[in-house]
Each structure stands twice: as structure tokens, then as C-alpha cells.
Symmetry: D2
Subunit: 369 residues, 4 copies
């Protein structure tokens, strides 16, 4: 259990870090949506290892293969779309020592406790490599979302360790975000972050940080109270990502220090529709989108895998010590940006289809706002 996500637009993912392949089956996709293999590849490339000197040097081209669900013209058929990505650069030998000892703050111990067996190499299913399948599904979700209502999703690195970028006046473009390998759209901060990550790497250490994400262009009315509030599903989606420790929407934790009279978003009429003058709510009220930008933040801990020697125990409880040897990201945030976007797209499309159906989303005659 636990490998299927979504209610009406659902994905089932599979694959271990060093197994034959990773992949995803996407079902509930509206028919007749043009799905672009180039766009899929581009999204996967944004998550791929080895993009820059700030990420792991594992060599994976992450070439996707679509096995089903498309017409010869590249239109979705309404049937499940399966996408696989083969693993190429497996180096199981790098993990020999890890078989004998539990890596601190990794899932080795808990997988053993749960299943009584684990895929030792690269953490198997617990590896962040699993997220390639999410990004593949997210590429389709972004496409559906764009066709459904023109909504866009943009995430970026807001802080790493104690380096925090200043508040931007408006949501950056993806181009601005991707301009730096750090995926921080504020050049001066990006430079500091890059330095910080390189310093951590050179010390055999790691750093964490915060990603901010905005979904803009969603209509009011998405979200299914009471349990499947839009932000509740976002929170679950984000906390299902490896290394995440926190989620906040709108004013978040800081907002708890305001008075109600300061915090409330006043309704106004603007551009012919009902808007709010501020957006401390973060785009949802009562669990339903209100037509403003959905704005949320996710906390990522520093990568658990570090090259420094750490004390730990073996499966039999005997004390030992361990230093990682595999190829690892000293900071997961730059590569996590497209993953966060993918999960956000999956949540948004799922709620769109709950509200409007698999087939009415696009009617019988193309795009429908």
C-alpha cells in the first residue's frame, strides 16, 4: 500500500533506486489532451542527477518511454498512460558497507522493521530516485492543467541553511528560476547558496532549506472539504517527498503571531470578479481555492547521506561507524524544485477532475476554462 496517489486523477508508481526501472501508471486522465514527449523529457531533465556541480554525479539520462495511453498523434486516449525510465548507472558495490549498518536518519532501519527485508542498494524504494516517476506524471498533470484552465505552477529555492532570499515583488518565471543551478531566482542569493552547497560538499557535509511554490490561474472552487481540503492534499503531497519536514500555506507559522484583524484577507471587487486585497490565506479558504494564487512552502532537511564518519549500529544492534561512499546530493533543494511542482500539479488536476469529471473537463470539443 501507499504507492497510489490521488482520487480521480490517480498515479501508481514503482521502482527501486538500483532496480531495472522506475515508472508510473497514470489513470483518470481526460481524453484528447496532446502530451508532448519533449516536454516530458524536459521536465525529467530538470530533476536529473548530474545537472551541475551542486548535485550528485550519478549518470542517469532518464530517458522516458511511454508504453500506453496515447494515440499515434500523441493524444491521450482516456486510458492509463504508463511511463518508464530505466536505471543505467547502478553501482551496487558502493553500498556493500551499508548492508552491514543502518545509515543515520535514513530509512534502512525502518524498512527492515516494517518489511523484514530491504533493497540495500541506494535505499531501494526509499531513494529520492523514486521521484523521477512523480516528475513524469507531473509533466502530464501540468499539461492537463494548462489545457483545462491555463493554470501554471512555479517553485523555487527560497533559502538554504541560513541564507534567505529577499521577498520578491512577484512570482518569478521558470526561466528566472532555472537561470541558476541553485534554482534560486535571486542572483545574489543564488551565488551565496551555491557557495554554501559547495562548502558543505567539500566538508563531506550537507545542507537543507525551504522551497516556495505558487499555483496561479486556478479557478475558485477546487478542493473537497472537509478532509480533502485543497491545502490538506497539498500538505500530504509535499510531506510524501523524501527529506521534507514541514509545510505551510499562506501566512503559515509566522501568521500565528498576527491578530485576526491584521490577518484577515478583505474581499474586494477587482477586474470584474471577487478578489481579496491581501493573500494571507494562501489561495484557499475553507479548503477550497478562492481564485488567488495558491502559495505554500516546504521545509527540506539537510541530506541524511554525508561523507563524514558517523556512529551507528548494525542490524543486530552492535555499534559500528559508517561514512557514505555513494554519489549523493549535498543539498536536495535544486533538484527538488521540479518535484514539488509535479506534486502540486497532481493535486490540482485531481481536484479539477473531482469537480468536473474525467470527460467534462474538456467537453467533447476541446479546451474549456
Amino acid at each position: 500500500m501507499g504507492n497510489i496517489f490521488g482520487h480521480s486523477f490517480r498515479i501508481a508508481t514503482f521502482g527501486e533506486s538500483h532496480g531495472p526501472a522506475l515508472g508510473v501508471v497514470i489513470e483518470g486522465c481526460p481524453p484528447r489532451v496532446p502530451f508532448d514527449l519533449d516536454f516530458l523529457k524536459k521536465e525529467l531533465a530538470r530533476r536529473r542527477p548530474g545537472q551541475s556541480d551542486l548535485t550528485t554525479q550519478r549518470k542517469e539520462e532518464d530517458q522516458p518511454e511511454i508504453l500506453s495511453g496515447l494515440s499515434p498523434e500523441g493524444l491521450t486516449l482516456g486510458s492509463p498512460i504508463a511511463i518508464i525510465v530505466r536505471n543505467k548507472d547502478q553501482r551496487p558495490s558502493a553500498y556493500t558497507e551499508m548492508k552491514a549498518a543502518y545509515r543515520p536518519s535514513h530509512a534502512d532501519f525502518t524498512y527492515d522493521a516494517k518489511y523484514g527485508i530491504r533493497a540495500v542498494e541506494g535505499g531501494g524504494r526509499s531513494s529520492a530516485r523514486e521521484t523521477a516517476a512523480r516528475v513524469a506524471a507531473g509533466a502530464l498533470a501540468k499539461t492537463v492543467l494548462d489545457h483545462a484552465c491555463g493554470a501554471k505552477i512555479t517553485a523555487w529555492v527560497e533559502s538554504v541553511a541560513d541564507i534567505q532570499m529577499p521577498q520578491l515583488a512577484k512570482t518569478p518565471t521558470q526561466k528566472q528560476v532555472d537561470a541558476s543551478p541553485t534554482r534560486c531566482p535571486h542572483p545574489a542569493t543564488a551565488e551565496k547558496i551555491a557557495e554554501c552547497i559547495r562548502a558543505a560538499r567539500s566538508q563531506g557535509d550537507s545542507v537543507g532549506g525551504v522551497i516556495c511554490c505558487v499555483i496561479s490561474g486556478l479557478p475558485a472552487g477546487l478542493g473537497s472539504p472537509v478532509f480533502d481540503r485543497f491545502e490538506a492534499d497539498l500538505a500530504k503531497a509535499m510531506l510524501s517527498l523524501p527529506a521534507t519536514k514541514g509545510f505551510e500555506i499562506g501566512s503559515g507559522f509566522a501568521g500565528t503571531q498576527l491578530m485576526g484583524s491584521q490577518h484577515n484577507d478583505l474581499f474586494i471587487k477587482k477586474g470584474g470578479r471577487i478578489r481579496t486585497s491581501t493573500n494571507r490565506s494562501g489561495g484557499t479558504q475553507g479548503g477550497i481555492t478562492n481564485g488567488e494564487d495558491v502559495v505554500f512552502r516546504i521545509a527540506f532537511k539537510p541530506t541524511a547521506t554525508i561523507l563524514q564518519k558517523q556512529k551507528t549500529v548494525r542490524p543486530d544492534g552492535k555499534e559500528t561507524s559508517l561514512a557514505a561512499k555513494g554519489r549523493h546530493d549535498p543539498c536536495v533543494l535544486p533538484r527538488a524544485v521540479p518535484i514539488v511542482e509535479a506534486m502540486a500539479a497532481l493535486v490540482a488536476v485531481d481536484h479539477w477532475i473531482r469537480d468536473r469529471g474525467q470527460n467534462e473537463s474538456f467537453g467533447r470539443c476541446g479546451r474549456k476554462a
Copy 2:
């Protein structure tokens, strides 16, 4: 959609704030668990309005009625348990003005946008009154959890506005928490918080804050990677609560500022089993419990309903202003404590049963650790 929570231990809730009744159907409960009506009442009393001068003065006794699922001896039958609580103190007249205008930062506008209709009185389904049903289900979940593995759940108010209690050396008892109507277990802080809430009320304003919750006594092995990680389901559960804006587990947002070498929890052998020397992970690794305390925090915004006059619009977009007249909590946190505990219990039991089944949880011969 959106009113069913859980996968194997599932609840379906219903009820509007000023409708005839609220309630819940709980299914997947293991058979032969003694469910105590007194305990149910006690839990509901902890959430009830009118507990103290810090909460709303709406008069609701919240007397539960169990309609199904128990044997004459009070044992669960394995069939669904339905519990209802009738609404008594409805005052629809208090909401006449709110029909004509959208309350700022409330769900009036979004419910209208989604459904094209709304229960005006007290916010209908979007009211926090809905959480009575969650607390009722949580009472059963706590009972099941106790019988299954002896696990306990304790939540408390950690901060209100900018008043923050000091870090405690160990998890407070429920008695310590409930000793103050603020549900802050640190007496000096509790006093300041009470004053702060009274001040907000007297100004017709409101305050928010942070609740901390600990689940202790869970075995290692609960949680279903990759999407249904234990903390992902907790995050969803908490963000499904009215007025929540954030969730963090273990080191949370603050942990993003540490280096990996500072953040990692080292494994040690202690008391005959594998433990961690610190608990920055917050009790889960790779989405699976590791046997340490599960520790998380939830951010609650200041109550949206305030007695001060605020600008807003009417459904037709025309500008107007509005001051609340109903009876409302100037701060939701004291009453939110048992609600947070209830949701945590529901998540924990759901994962217990996913792992061990509806019937094996207790075997055929009583309690099983």
C-alpha cells in the same frame, strides 16, 4: 467527496453547524474492543464550547448517541459504529447579515463558488463545529490504539500570538495540559496566554498559535511509503482542520538551518532495542515510524471571525462592511487540542490496521502488542 478519511480504518463525517445533528460512521474497527461511552463523553467535553471564559459561549452539551456497532456489553462488533451529536443551541438569526456579505477569511465565498449554494448559518459544513464528529471518532481510535499497542497521544498549546512556552524536558501529561483552560502545560506561560486571549476578546479581535503533539509508544514499522508516509498522512489530517496554516514534524522548518552532521539522528542500542540518540526525525524515517516519539506541530491562524467591523463584498460584488455577531472563540487553540489528538489517533490506527489487518490486530484471543 472529501468527507471520508482513512484507508483501512475509515470515517465518514456529516453535519452542518446549525443543522439537526453532526455525526460520524467509523468502519474497519477491529472487533471486541471495549468502547466506553464515558470516555467518549469526556473527550467531547474537552472540545465542547463554553468550557471557560476563553471560548465561545454557545451552549452545546454535545451528548453523543451511539447508533450501531456495539454489543450489549459495549464491545465493538467489527461492523460500523455510528455516533451522532444533536445541535441544540442554534441561533440562525445571528447570521442574517452574513447572508448578505462574505465574511473575510471565511469559507462563505468559496462554498458559494464551488456549490452555488451554502448553509449560511454558522458556516454550515465549514464551521469548526464539524470537528465534534472527529473527536468522537478519535475517542474510539484512541481506545483501539491503547489496546493494540498501548500508544498514547498528548497535544498541548505551545504558543499563542507571540507568547511561547519554554521547551519542556518531557512530554506533559494530559492532566497537566488540562489543568489550565488555555491547555498550555506551563503555568506561567498559560497565565500570559489567558490574558492575551482575554485582551483579544475585549478588543473584538482574535489570536492564533501553535499546538505541539506527541504520539508515544508506537512500534517501529507503521507508515506506507511512498505516498502514504506516516507524516504525510499526519500532515493531511492536520491541514484538514479548520484554521490550520502549517505542519512540521521533528526539526521542521528550524531544522533546515542545520548541517547534515548536526541534524542526523545516530542509531544506538538502548534498553535492548535499536533507538536513536536524538529525535530530529520526529519519530519517522522514510515515512515509517522508528519507535521513537512522533512529534509534530501545527500552526493555527487567528480566528477569522472578529467583532470589529471589516470591509467586504456581497455575493453580487458590491462593497459593504460586516462585524460578526455570533458567539465565537477569540482563539481556537485551547479547544483544538483534543481535535489534534483525535486526528493523530485516526492516522495511527489506520496505519496499524493497514499493517496488521482488521482482525489480526487483536487476534482471536484479545490484546496483542
Copy 3:
């Protein structure tokens, strides 16, 4: 588990035969549908015990109470609708003997085997009394279906024991069906069936039979291949009813004896749309409705409870014998007709909403075909 039915229009039922109440929570219902309490009562009255001398004489008025989900004007709000029916005529004493012995072909033994506990009186959750909740939900589903596309559902008794009515030229009306307490719309056959049931009763015995059901007016396009084919969900719905032993759609078992060239339904153009010249398919092809009548049959076994003495064992395995003393139906079919219709309505509405969404079903401006 097992008490929730449906994917997008979902119901959760609860209640034991001799417990305080039965009920259902319905979620995913489109907003702004007028739900008529009189219609609800009328549907329940069609299932009620004591309708005629052919049914059990248990006295239950089955007065429904709607606890949530409706506006003061009786429109659905889009939130869950909870309906309860209280049990009035409990006579637990009639079941004393049954505590000590397993009733043949009843669920006493299997509930004990599964749960290690059972509600002895009247079979508890396994009683057909549970179906009152289904009929209540079905009343809403019929209403939604009518508003969505004008589709109608009619079931009737086609055979009892070896008495079989002749094939009708067209689907009978509900009035024709309800004209006889047997719910067989062919008067001559109805008379024979009534006699047959009375004879079985006088011998302390019971009889079974076959119900036929037609859904007319559904658009082409409902059903979700491959697993959630329209007929697959119907089959599950019908086999989930007490006492059912078989389901067939269209040509069914008899159709297995035809050649393909005899069996195929040829496409024709008629009345401006694509139709089939015959309907051996029974209204679905490839698991999707084709716009023809959906026609299916359900086999009901003779009632397990009989007044004749039968051999059986006690829970400890010791041999004993047992004769029923409670009030029971000598034939379940007359009262099963509205239950079959209810389940058919639930399946149809669920697929309608999967296809078109909770909110698009009716648009923002009323009925939509």
C-alpha cells in the same frame, strides 16, 4: 471495511437489525438537487416489512430522519446527507435459541469465524434489515439521476420457484409492478406466485426467484473500463445484497448457447442517433453504456430462515436442531424489488459523476442532460 460503496458518489451505511438505528451517509452528491422527504418515505414504504400477508409481520414504520446536507428549502448542499431510521419493533427474546446454535445457510457461523463476536438478535449486521439504508440512499440517487438525464429504473419479480412470467413486450411501469403485493407485473403469474408464497409459509418453508431490472434513459458513455465496467459494478452491487446467488446482463447464461452471428447486436441509425437493432448486450459494450436499456437479472435463493426443524451445530460443534421463531419473509423477492432499484441507481449516479464531476453534473444553472 466493506461498508462504503461507490467511488465518486459514495455511501457509508451502518446499523444492526435490533440495534438503535440504521442509516447512511451519502457523499459526493451534486449541490442544488431538490430532495423530497415524501419520495424518500415512499421508497422506504415499498421495502418496509408488513406490507402484505406475503411478507414478515415485523412492525417497522421506517420513518426516516435527515440529519444533514439539505438547505431549509430542501436542496442538497453538496455536503454529506445523513439519513437514519430507528428500529422500533425489536424482539430479542425471539433469538435466544439462535444464540446457542448456528442457523443453517445464515451468517451466524461466518460472523463468528471472522469477528469472534456477533450481534445475535436478528443476525445483526447480516440481516436484510440493513438494506433500508440502501433504499434511503437509492431514493436520493434516483432523484439525482432523474435530474441529470431523466433516466428511470424499474425492477420486478420475474419468477418465483418454478413459476415464470411470460416475456413482456415492453418494460412495465412501477405502477404495474406495485399493483400486486408480489411485485410481479403479469397478473395471472402474480396470482400463482402469491399462492406459492402462501403455500411455502403454511409449510414453514420458503421460496426464491429471479428479479429483472431495467435502467432506461442513460446516455451512452457511462462506465469505467477495465475493472469498473458498468456491468461489473452492477454485478457487485447486486451480489452485495443478502440472499443473492447470481447476476446476468443482457443475454446472460442463455446467450452462451447462441452463435456469434445470432448474438451480435447490429448497429443501426434510428431517431437521429446510433442504436442497436437488438439488445442482447443488455445496454453496455466494453463496459460502457451504449444508450440502450440496461437490462439485468438477479437470482435470489429461498429465504434461509424456515420454521421447520433443521439439524445444525452449536458454536462448540455439538450437534443440535433448530426451528426459527422470529418473524420472517417466506420469500424475499417482493420487498427486494426497491432494493435492487436502489443499488442500480447508486451505480448509475456514481458513474455519471465520475464522468462529469460533482459540480458539472448540474452546471451552475440547473438541470443538464
Copy 4:
């Protein structure tokens, strides 16, 4: 929607008849079950086209590839197991004519009506080729079932057209079933059936029939009343198969002609446990297995594809005629036998895990009855 089956042991299938590949993702599988690639291949070979002169001559080796979820030693890891089978012998040209006209009693028209697009070649997703994925998943389910409780599943062809084999004294072995390419275990009947199928083929026609299936060795207690009764889930599973028109369990439709006193299964004590003296119930009572053989039958219509010319219409409604040219089975039953077994295995394992959990099924120390 519609491509995921099961609640706790779930499969997601994908693939069009003439697309790149078919496949399945299986999740919820207990860890540490040895899964044998040879067994998987053997099961697929039993379903493969071109087995004999009674089946289609499409050449597909159906070589499976396992992409995830197994340890190097072939043990399940508890994570999803993905299996794909590539399509090799596509001949889209055979379907050119079918693009222009709807094949009678096929899904061409309904897929167009639902999705507004369809994979013309071989029926795309509506093709019975899709069932290869089910057989692959069923191979794993059979393995799990065997390890869990030693239960076995055997299906066979009982009748074709009007040729009916005599009732057997006991369940045939798979070897007896597979001895004839007809998969009828009664040699004299098998011969007649083979002749009948060859005759149909030579006339460009097709035949249907009935398959019987027995699950033996299940413990009492599986099944989740009220909606997820064991037989309800079986009925859905079977009616989700292409070409099925009916399902019956135990006494089925014929049993409706018996009196209750003839039909009831009396409880007896035998071999130290509670049994029934007859098995008209077909192995379940109240939707829960009673420890007797689960016995059910499925009606398959004659194959819709025939080589004779038939009248039909084009998508624009214009009349035309059509004769199939592809390679097709004149009778689906021989190849449907392993498919029926696969679906039965999936239902049984799903209920096993609902009852006993993903991890308790096998405990931490191997096989557990």
C-alpha cells in the same frame, strides 16, 4: 478511472492491444514471498494466443519483464511489483476497415461515445489482450495465496454452446484441465467442444460457453460485509472480463427453484471443525467464506468478432457492412480459464490482506496459515 482493482492488494493495469506494451503494477504485496519468474511465464503461456488450432493465431510470446519490487534472490520487498509484456505481432493494417465502421457488439462505438477518441487497432484498451496483465498479477496472487494458507484455484470449461459436460465427483486438477486445448477436463465432452469450435471457425462464426471455478483451502472468515462480500467482489472481478454476461455462485440461478428446506446447507462437525453437509451456498454465507470450497460460474458470450459480413454503421451513422479480417478466437473460453483463475486469486488475496494486514500475513518469520 477504472484501471485499479482491489483495496489492500491492488493492481493498476495499462496497455492497448497494439501499443508498445501491456503491464501491471501490483501494490500491497506482503514482503518476503518468493516470486518465481518461471511460474509467471507458465501462467502467461496458458493465456497466450496461438496455443492450439482452437485459438487466434496472433503470434505473441508474451515474455514478461519484472521491473521492480523483488530482491536479487527473487523475494518480494513489500514495494510495488511492476511487470510488462511487450506487444510484438501488431498488424494495424488488419484494422483499416474497422476505423470506418463500428464492429457489432464491440466497444468501438461506446469508446467513441465516452472518450471522443479511440485506439482503432485491435480495439485498443477494450481488447482481451489487456487480460495478459491480469494473468501476470494473478500469478503473484496465486503465489501469495499458496504461501498464506495453501489455497488453490482451479477453473475449467464446463460448456460450450449447447455442449455441457457431466457433473464431476470432485474438482479436476489443473493437469486434467490443461490436458485438452479446450480446457474441458471431461475428455469425451472436450472432443465435442473442440469439434464445435472448429465448426464455428470454418463457418466464420463463433461460440460462447460457461466456465466453472473453485477456490479450495480458504479459511473461514474472508469477505467484508456488507458491500465487499466475498462473492460481490468475485462477481465484479468476473464481470470486468471481456465477453462475460453472467456470474453465479453455489446453487446460482437453478437454486431459485428449490424450497428453503431443500436449499439450506446443514452444519455438521467433521474432521474436527464445523462444516456444511452440502455446499449450495458455494462457500460463502453472509458474504464471508465458511471454509468450504468457493464455487462459481461465469457466462461468456460468443466472440463478437466473426468473419461473416454483418450490417453496421459508420461513426457518422451511415449504414455499411463489415467482415472481420484480424486474427481472432472463435471461442474465448479455453484461454479465459487462466484469466478467471487470476481474477479469483486477486480477490482472495485482497480479502486475506484486509483481514490480516500486509505484514502480518506472513509475520516476520515466514509462512503462516
